[in-house]
């Protein structure tokens, strides 16, 4: 593996997307959570829901603003670093990305301003409507971006003319085979991520003896949701895996570090894959379980990596371990959910100190799982950028030298470290303050559209 323009451009794309994805991973769920809080307040008029919604709106505003700022960078990566990919696929990918932009900006223009600044200026039903629209808008955005990603994983509905992809049927392109599974799995992951952060923040304040009513409400809402979503997510993950085995069997072979096509495949817990020798130097596994999980039958046959030419195989170690990290984190989440049932039944949800400590520790787990899952699916797709049809190495901008990309990568790393550092500091400060009753703004605001970050400072 040499650090050429292809690998460095991949690292750069990894860096700008990995930093960016942390924000939607949190804000998609948070937008829905705020919509739920607003609905509860609208129908019950209990002030606790209003206090919580105001608190999380500030967090949402900062996260969303940083998501917008870091999101601007990504479409430009397509042109600067992946220009041959852009030229080959833009007839399909371009309009889909444009729809993401149009719907997101349409939403931002129309409803975010009302949600952030309009509480005293529009009737309550309209404010609730804005909250619902913002939540829907974040899901639209997720929808279009995952359409693009899924089409690159399981491309259908196009024809190829002189190396370029042209759309035949848009509905087939959009609802490509992996899309429904990826969309469901990702959105559920985003919701779980948010719920764990909400639970962690609640636990943090409860342990410090603050915001008792708010904290218990947040814990109940978070674990109510997690009780449903964590098991559902495991089922969705299983379905997504079966879908991947059908459409991208090479990815599954890498995830399982499985070299030989075999039935009664073991499930490896640990392996040291040697790609040159085409075997695992060390492996520890449970017999037959791999076939059972992947085919739902002990005798099910699973394809091994040797079925593909070496140049058509993905790297093995990264998907293998990233996948195990994701699943391991999922098991931890399930454990936490089971713990919550016992504590909840005994009525100690708000004051069991060990449980609250666990919640605090678990707060970032969703982000870990999202990143690990994303790495699994993206590295597992290699060496293809459009699966089976266009190689990643053929997608990069031909005029770039390795030193060009070294330089830009260094700039992106330094810039994001500064900006995400400052933003993280800002968020931690807001979370630390908790859902204190905000002072009414001293000055009259005329309403601030399209300016999410300022919603947080307004209450400072």
């Amino acid at each position: 593996m040499s650090f050429d323009a292809v690998l460095l451009s991949r690292l750069q794309f990894f860096w700008v997307v990995a930093m960016h994805i942390l924000l939607p991973a949190f804000t998609v769920g948070l937008a829905s959570y705020i919509a739920v809080l607003e609905s509860l307040y609208f129908f019950t008029r209990k002030p606790v829901y209003l206090r919580l919604s105001r608190f999380w709106l500030k967090i949402f505003a900062v996260s969303f603003g940083m998501g917008v700022v870091s999101g601007i960078v990504m479409p430009f990566q397509f042109g600067t670093n992946w220009s041959r990919f852009s030229d080959a696929t833009a007839d399909i990918v371009g309009p889909l990305m444009a729809y993401e932009g149009l719907t997101a900006f349409f939403l931002e223009a129309g409803f975010l301003g009302v949600l952030l600044f309009g509480r005293s200026r529009v009737p309550p039903w309209m404010h609730l409507g804005a909250a619902l629209m913002v939540a829907a808008g974040t899901l639209f955005s997720t929808f279009w971006i995952l359409v693009v990603n899924s089409w690159m994983q399981t491309p259908v509905g196009h024809s190829i003319v002189e190396g370029r992809f042209f759309p035949d049927d848009w509905l087939t392109v959009i609802f490509n085979p992996s899309f429904p599974y990826r969309f469901a799995h990702t959105v559920t992951a985003f919701y779980i991520t948010t719920a764990l952060v909400v639970a962690g923040v609640a636990a943090y304040h409860l342990r410090a003896g603050r915001f008792r009513v708010e904290g218990v409400t947040m814990l109940k809402m978070a674990f109510g949701l997690l009780t449903i979503l964590v098991p559902v997510q495991m089922e969705l993950g299983d379905l997504h895996g079966l879908n991947t085995r059908e459409h991208q069997p090479g990815k599954i072979a890498a995830i399982e570090a499985n070299w030989e096509t075999q039935s009664r495949m073991p499930l490896l817990l640990f392996a040291w894959p040697d790609e040159r020798a085409e075997r695992n130097i060390v492996e520890i596994g449970i017999p037959v379980l791999g076939s059972v999980i992947l085919t739902h039958s002990a005798d099910g046959v699973v394809q091994g990596l040797k079925d593909w030419r070496p140049q058509d195989r993905p790297p093995v170690a990264i998907p293998f371990y990233a996948f195990r990290l994701m699943v391991g984190v999922g098991v931890l989440m399930l454990t936490l959910v089971v713990c919550s049932w016992f504590v909840w039944v005994k009525g100690h949800l708000g004051d069991s100190r060990w449980f609250l400590k666990l919640c605090e520790l678990a707060a970032p787990l969703g982000f870990v799982a999202v990143l690990a899952g994303w790495v699994t699916t993206e590295v597992g797709r290699q060496p293809w950028v459009v699966y089976g049809l266009m190689r990643t190495g053929e997608a990069v901008t031909p005029s770039l030298s390795a030193s060009d990309v070294w330089a830009s990568l260094a700039v992106y790393i330094a810039a994001y470290a500064a900006i995400f550092g400052a933003g993280g500091f800002f968020l931690v400060r807001l979370l630390h303050k908790g859902p204190a009753e905000a002072e009414p703004a001293a000055h009259a605001r005329v309403g601030t559209p399209a300016r999410p970050l300022s919603a947080a400072t307004e209450a400072e």
Binding site: G79, T80, R84, F105, A109, V446, P449, S454
Partner: protein, 333 residues
């Protein structure tokens, strides 16, 4: 037989880029002028005058970029590698100045003020370099960019980079004349006066340099009968410049802003006349760069529905924030 919607897309792209240049132009100009303001109160007022609208302005950059990817992918794939580093510096500059709007209220105000200023300067300079590189022509081989990653570093592109800093500074100063009063307004008026002459100098230099360096542009402007047909362009530009100076002299409030915007409009028109129908000067035209009719048609439906709403909303938000700003009051923090 489907309708040829390539010209429509060319119009949408041109509109998006122009909206971006005008709107983000004056708020980048605020950042350029920022450290030279008379005092801290003035700086706060400057920030407040664009705080509610700047990120709406940047929306147009993304819309322009994605519209190009979707409707004219070949142009996107050829132009972006040619300006690899200017785009990098523009993006990083915009990011720093963007978050500075909020982060300066939290800690290290001085640091974020520097970030705001230098982010604006770097982003503007980078955009000017992109413009200069574009006008000079982008070498193409087959369907890819045929030059190197540092071909943009030419005297001409550096000139347009500096020129754009002065230009955005001018519309920023004129914006402040309209939006502020008292000492700050007087300061902005004096700056606008100086910057107006600077802009005239750069417009003159570019107008002489390009036809000398680019035979295509020379032919476009000076071949008969184009010379006669296009003669209103420099005449109107000159008239707008005179109007700008007079409105500054007579202490008008909104007229300088309108005049400077119109001046930008004429420069943009001049650029359009120079290169049309090319989208990648001087080898790929709009039709060659187009995506398939199926792609363009699929996207035009949503664009025609949503773009007017985005434009109306932009206009409305400017209406909401009309009137003068001050350092503490208005719609600041």
């Amino acid at each position: 037989m489907t309708l040829d919607i390539v010209p429509l897309w060319a119009g949408i792209l041109a509109l998006g880029v122009f909206m971006y240049v005008l709107l983000d132009g004056f708020d980048l100009g605020i950042g350029i002028l920022f450290p030279y303001a008379p005092d801290d109160a003035g700086r706060d007022a400057m920030m407040n005058s664009v705080a509610p609208i700047w990120d709406g302005n940047e929306t147009w950059l993304v819309l322009g970029g994605i519209a190009m990817l979707a409707a004219f992918p070949l142009a996107f794939a050829v132009i972006m590698p040619a300006v690899y580093f200017p785009i990098l510096f523009m993006l990083v500059g915009l990011t720093f100045r963007g978050v500075a709007f909020e982060f300066r209220h939290l800690t290290h105000k001085r640091h974020w003020d520097h970030a705001f200023h230098w982010g604006s300067v770097v982003a503007t300079f980078a955009q000017g370099v992109v413009l200069g590189t574009y006008v000079q022509g982008i070498p193409v081989h087959g369907r890819t960019y045929a030059g190197g990653s540092f071909d943009w570093a030419t005297p001409f592109a550096l000139l347009t980079g500096l020129g754009l800093i002065v230009g955005y500074g001018l519309i920023g100063a004129c914006w402040l004349i309209m939006k502020t009063e008292g000492a700050l307004q007087g300061w902005a008026r004096r700056k606008a006066w100086l910057l107006a002459f600077g802009v005239a100098l750069f417009i003159g230099a570019v107008s002489i340099w390009t036809p000398l360096a680019q035979p295509q542009i020379r032919a476009r402007w000076f071949a008969w009968p184009n010379l006669l047909i296009l003669s209103p362009v420099p005449v109107i530009t000159l008239a707008l410049f005179v109007w700008l100076l007079r409105s500054l002299k007579s202490k008008r409030e909104a007229a300088p802003f309108l005049a400077s915007m119109a001046l930008f409009g004429m420069c943009y028109l001049g650029l359009g006349i120079s290169i049309i129908p090319m989208i990648v000067p001087y080898s790929i035209d709009f039709w060659q760069a187009s995506s398939s009719a199926k792609s363009q048609t699929f996207l035009i439906v949503g664009t025609m529905l949503l773009l007017p709403v985005i434009i109306m909303y932009t206009a409305w938000s400017y209406w909401v924030f009309r009137g003068k700003v001050t350092a503490g009051g208005g719609y600041g923090h």
